[in-house]
Amino acid sequence: MSGSPQTVSALRSLLAARFPEKLRRPGGEVAAGVGPLDDALGGGLPAGRLTELVSTAPSSGGQTVIAGLLAATQAARQRLALIDAADGFAPDAVAPDLLRHLVWVRCRAPEQALAAADILVRDGNYAVLILDLRGCAERVLRRTPATQWYRLHRAAEGSPGAVLVQTTFPLVPAVPWRLALDASLPLAAAAAERTAVAEGLQVHPERSPVGGVEELTA
């Protein structure tokens, strides 16, 4: 099936007008602590929903977003779970104080990561669940049945926390919010404070429930 963008956008607007309660964020937002990301999402990661963050370029700031979320959740004394499909998280890259509320799941394969997400998304103890699938082979991730994603969507809807899926290409079907990080950072960024690096990230909304974040937050 195919349809023009105008048609899809019109359909989304129609659905938004007809079923406004479906667009309401059930549990509010969880501030990501990264200005451009929070702005793109209209306040923060929506609780009870999946958000996909696609790092299309290398060094575009995906890991800095994780560091920002660690700081934001620690400030709010909330828990964060990181399901690390490619075992890439570096504890020595963030301050030790930002690790004390983190539950880190070091997976060996994408299948393990998806199984872990299926468990943790139902656990009501986490404000943020990050499913980091970067570093996994694209052909393996493409084999993930769509039903598994729908199952994750449904489970997230009953959860008080936000779910952030990090990928390197658009992967999650029917995801309400998809954002892209598509600009590689220059070496000069290595000499800047991390908060400044985070504020300088280029986050572009690719998909929102009504075709634009502005409409959503108005």
Partner: protein
């Protein structure tokens, strides 16, 4: 109210059906004797028209498809252990009276609590395949009468009223005594005890007096106490060996139910579970699961075991299984007034255990940096119950994009000019270097065999991307991406 009797009617049959998944819901009969003398001793509800004492050939003609099986001593022993474990949760004075029957001395116990526990056990054991009947009364004999007519728990308050309608067979008269009493028109215990004990003694002798006393519930006896289990383990075998998870899981549940009940009876919880699969090629698969929240919750255990077994692939079929629960004292604690604790502690710890079953015990937890400058040195600790408050103002803020490691680092050939990297080749990452910052030199543990030293560089590639390069004695590697 001093005694309770726990009994399972048709115990041998239920023990067999409980142990074998394929017998559930099928017409099954237990058979004793051989050849033409073989007789049915018990039959399941599904075996319509088949009753104890029936010849096997008749049973087969009345119920085509009936499964005829001899008694299974191992299954009965396991079911008996479950029953005894349930009895020990009521009182430490327990008698294993007979196969499928336990008598408990409840003196000193709270009756309301005991009755509530019995009702809970009746529900739990029914789910575990043992339809429990329990009676509570002043003597062991009365309690056994009560158990025989319980649905599923009967507490006897008014003894004469309880005994009056019971059939005479409850008092176990001899054939001669039964014949005489039938001749007098007496068919209930109430009818017998309505007569004077002395008159019965004159007519039926000392046996008659003993019968009257049994009918009046006056007979009492000392219990032969048994010791509670001290090993919380189970081992069973499969013949033929199994290849799939379903038969494994069916028996795991059965044995876990018993072990959990034994732990609860002893006031303990499981801290760890050790699972061993014995394989056909005489090797084995062993795994020990640390339960972050020690407990005796069977469902929680099974979720952990299931998560692990789903991903297990063995070289040979499974011929046996051993499950051992490492006991511990239950934890007791009071939360602090300002703690931001867990919303659902049970789910939190249980889910951690399930994750550990999937990815491994050593790959889930909260990272804690080690006291060293060695790169990537950390340990995974058990997550804290409460999220600690943030420290005050940060003295040394972090700089630059956050490192995302490649574990292990990617080997790469680095071409240098004037001592600086200018091109990467020969590995998973190739290309010209646009800019490089470094070197940073670090070393440590020089007094140990695992001494380390490295030179690191941050490089930006022409095609985009910031990477951390390390040069060690073995050569160059890409340690990760600055992201």
């Amino acid at each position: 109210m001093s005694y309770a009797v726990l009994m399972v009617p048709d115990f041998a049959l239920h023990a067999l059906c409980r142990a074998e998944a394929e017998l559930r819901g099928q017409p099954v009969a237990l058979v004793a004797g051989e050849g033409r003398r073989a007789r049915v001793t018990a039959a399941s509800a599904e075996a319509a028209g088949v009753m104890p004492g029936l010849a096997v050939t008749l049973a087969m003609s009345r119920c085509p498809g009936i499964i005829l099986r001899p008694r299974e001593p191992a299954a009965e022993a396991e079911a008996q252990r479950l029953l005894v474990a349930a009895a020990f949760t009521l009182s430490p004075r327990v008698e294993a009276t007979a196969s499928g029957t336990c008598t408990v001395d409840l003196r000193g116990a709270d009756l309301a609590r005991s009755e509530a526990l019995l009702r809970r056990h009746a529900a739990e054991l029914a789910l575990a395949g043992l339809p429990l009947r329990a009676g509570v009364a002043a003597t062991p004999l009365l309690a056994s009468f009560a158990a025989r007519c319980a649905q599923p728990v009967r507490v006897v308050d008014d003894i004469p009223q309880f005994l009056a309608p019971l059939p005479l067979e409850f008092a176990e008269p001899t054939e001669a005594e039964a014949g005489v009493l039938r001749g007098w028109g007496i068919s209930t215990l109430g009818g017998l005890t309505a007569l004077a004990k002395g008159d019965i003694g004159q007519r039926l002798g000392t046996g008659g007096i003993a019968l009257w006393e049994r009918a009046a519930g006056e007979t009492t006896r000392l219990l032969r106490h048994v010791e509670p289990s001290r090993s919380f383990a189970a081992e069973w075998s499969y013949e033929p060996p199994v290849e799939s998870i379903e038969p494994l899981f069916f028996k795991l549940r059965r044995y876990a139910e018993r072990i959990a009940l034994e732990l609860r009876a002893a006031g303990l919880v499981a801290e760890r579970l050790a699972l061993t699969l014995l394989l056909e090629d005489e090797s084995d698969h062993r795994r020990e699961f640390r339960l972050p929240e020690p407990g005796a919750d069977v469902e929680g255990w099974l979720r952990v075991l299931h998560s692990h077994l789903e991903g297990v692939r063995t070289e040979a079929r499974v011929t046996g299984v051993r499950l051992v629960a490492r006991p511990a004292r239950p934890q007791e604690k009071q939360d602090g007034l300002f703690d931001t604790g867990l919303r659902d502690p049970a789910s939190f710890w249980e889910n951690l255990a399930r994750l550990a079953a999937i990815v491994g015990d050593d790959r889930v937890g909260t990272p804690v940096p080690l006291d060293t400058h060695r790169p990537d040195a950390f340990a995974l600790a058990k997550p804290a119950e409460a999220v600690p408050p943030p420290v005050g103002r940060v003295v040394h803020p972090a700089y630059g994009p956050t490192l995302r490691r490649f574990r292990p680092g990617w080997e790469v050939d680095v071409a240098c000019a004037e001592g600086r990297p200018v091109r990467l080749a020969g590995g998973r990452l190739e290309g010209a270097v646009r800019a490089a910052a470094g070197p940073w030199l670090a070393s440590g543990d020089w007094w140990k065999p695992e001494a380390w030293a490295e030179e690191t560089w941050q490089v930006e590639l022409e095609r985009g991307g910031l990477y951390l390069l390390a040069r060690r004695a073995a050569g160059w590697s890409v340690e990760g991406m600055l992201d």
